[in-house]
Amino acid sequence: MSAFVQAVGLFAPGLPNWSTSLATLNGEQLYAASDAGIAPPQPQLLPPNERRRAPLSVLLALHAAEDAVQRSGIAAGDLPSVFGSSDAEMAIIHRISSALAEPARSVSPTDFHNSVHNAAAGYWGIAARATRSATTLAAFDGTCVAALQESFALLADGERAVLLVLYDVPPPVPLYEKRPIEVPVAVALVLSRESSTASLASVRLDRADTETQLPDPTLERLRRANPAARVLPLLCAIARGSEELVGLRAQSGRIVGVRVSRP
């Protein structure tokens, strides 16, 4: 199965969006995980009212989605979407579980409606008037592979283009000890069946034997720090514009290859 990458969106510490991050991802610049990149992004498509109510994971996912879709040349509303997140918003699980451990058991209605795993997809639908199918899935540390495969399968099923969004954010203490996601990361890809002048790369599912690690040790640390960041080797290959085979680890332990080439 193959597809064309029409645009990429990104948010991680020191990598505030795709265009600013290109020089780091293609190896021209060393990665510096500046704290400045950790201020929550403010996705513009989301009405200010909803922006105030949306949790961090939603702001991140929508920022990355917006970053990608705006440069894809495809109307946001026309894109079916796949949202992949291992743990979505654990700060809400923390607040609700804390409240339920007290005698009053007062659960905030806003927390509850934001607690669904598909909250980011729901807010994206509202913000972008995206009425096509939206699937939110989780496969723990293999979430990026599962979401990539679902996106390819949508294209094979006849969709012309698909929005793929990967995101996870650090949980608060005490959950952090049980699920140490160290930094917030969101990545978005707009994939299409046909190439266009805007296409950044061609990608094809292939066999691979080993999981690709990143030569820059600080970037490699980021890759390991968040399930959404496991897709970074693919982003680096796209940024370099070179032909290469990227190996990504599925939750089963199997390595799934993505062959990246010029469009």
């Binding site: 659960v107 997809a121 939206a134």
Partner: protein, 392 residues
């Protein structure tokens, strides 16, 4: 459907109606609800709930590390109707690594986190040492558990789109099989009672104190239930098949349906188109039918605009309660029972149907030749999925 319909070669459900297909069929024939005004765990909210079982037997042996209430319910479900044995035979045919697992859930093992927080060391702010987030609490845990229990070695994915979750697994699994990512798929869903959903839906004023009354003039909310259900999808000849699936998004509100039913109607229209069927080909619709004022009104508009006012429709949530992320698979199993037994269930607990709802609500259960059923599932975040199931 692009390619021939996928066979549903094994299927089962466990809910407040009992364990396995026969228990569900009997409860439907006998008009016996599984809902009761009882209490779950330490919850003191006054409402009716659908309890699938005491689930007090811990998982043991190789599965012990996965032990939590949600996975116990899953295991109980997998043991019914010879499901595990049929998957084992499929694994011999295809190879265990060629069978995907696609599980729908809204809260998965969240009850484990609730208990861990209750038992946490408050001074040190630490959760109990034996709390295993990955295998007993996180969203994926149910998919990983089902894969481990069935001894499969392909990919395991949890789809979590609130109350449409275990309908959407059919669509994702179909695409994965047709794209060659796997040769067969175990689809299904498990959601178990927990304090988060009981108190959460209560905080949104969506839980009825009364038993839920879908499409009734006095309907005022849901009754929450729990269920586990599974189906084996493969390319094969079979009496029952997934004929079509359709998905859409409301893009309207996080926790309220689009009032005109546009998004719901789009999912239904897409499911019909994928099945290559017309409205008149649908013999019965198993409604999402939650018994909230907003859902039932919006779904009625969608039904009338896509199928018209004559197709028989009913909600079976008066029997099972709203099993949330497991509703899609539970109602798919009920739909298949309707086809297998030639039966249309009435909308239980509906005393005086809302006159503003125009669809043809089934008031009296009856025998009928049923070839194709549409099953609707809609969730928070505006996530809609319709399935068409029945004889190919």
């Amino acid at each position: 459907m692009s390619g021939s319909p996928l066979a549903i070669s094994a299927w089962t459900a466990t809910s407040a109606l009992g364990r396995g297909r026969d228990a569900h069929a009997r409860a439907l024939f006998d008009e016996r609800t599984g809902l009761a005004p009882t209490r779950f765990e330490t919850c003191t909210l006054e409402c009716w709930i659908g309890v699938a079982g005491s689930l007090d037997r811990p998982l043991s042996g190789e599965l012990a590390a996965w032990d939590c209430r949600n996975n116990r319910l899953a295991q109980l479900g997998l043991e019914q109707d010879g499901f595990t044995a049929q998957v084992a035979r499929a694994a011999e045919r295809y190879g265990a690594e060629r069978i995907g697992v696609f599980m729908g859930t809204s809260t998965s093992g969240i009850h484990s986190a609730e208990l861990a927080y209750r038992e946490r060391d408050r001074a040190a702010n630490r959760l109990p040492a034996d709390f295993d987030h990955g295998r007993t609490s996180c969203t994926w845990s149910i998919a990983g558990f089902v894969q481990a229990s069935l001894k499969l070695r392909g990919e395991s994915i949890a789809i979590s789109t609130a109350c449409s979750s275990s309908a959407k697994v059919f669509a994702s699994a179909r695409r994965a099989i047709q794209a060659g990512l796997c040769d067969a798929a175990v689809v299904g869903g498990v959601d178990s009672l927990c304090l988060t959903t009981l108190h959460g839906f209560h905080s949104l004023q969506l839980v009825s104190r009364d038993i839920c009354r879908p499409a009734d003039t006095r309907r005022n909310g849901i009754s929450i239930g729990e269920a586990a259900g599974f189906a084996l999808l493969e390319r094969a000849d079979a009496e029952l098949a997934l004929l079509g699936d359709g998905e859409s998004s409301d893009a309207h509100h996080m926790s309220a349906p689009e009032p005109n039913g546009r998004g719901a109607g789009e999912a239904m229209t897409r499911a019909l188109a994928r099945a290559g069927l017309q409205a008149a080909d649908i013999d019965y619709v198993n409604l999402h039918g939650t018994a909230t004022p907003a859902n039932d009104a919006a779904e009625d508009r969608a039904i009338c605009s896509v199928l018209g006012e004559s197709t028989p429709v009913s909600s079976t949530k008066g029997w099972t309660g709203h099993t949330l992320g497991a509703a899609g698979i539970l109602e798919a199993v009920i739909s298949l029972l309707c086809v297998e037994h030639g039966f249309v269930p009435r909308s239980l607990n509906t005393l005086s149907p809302d006159p503003s709802l125009r669809a043809n609500l089934v008031r009296d259960s009856r025998r009928a030749r049923i070839g194709r059923v549409m099953s609707n599932s809609f969730g928070f975040g505006g996530s809609n999925c319709s399935l068409v199931l029945g004889r190919p």
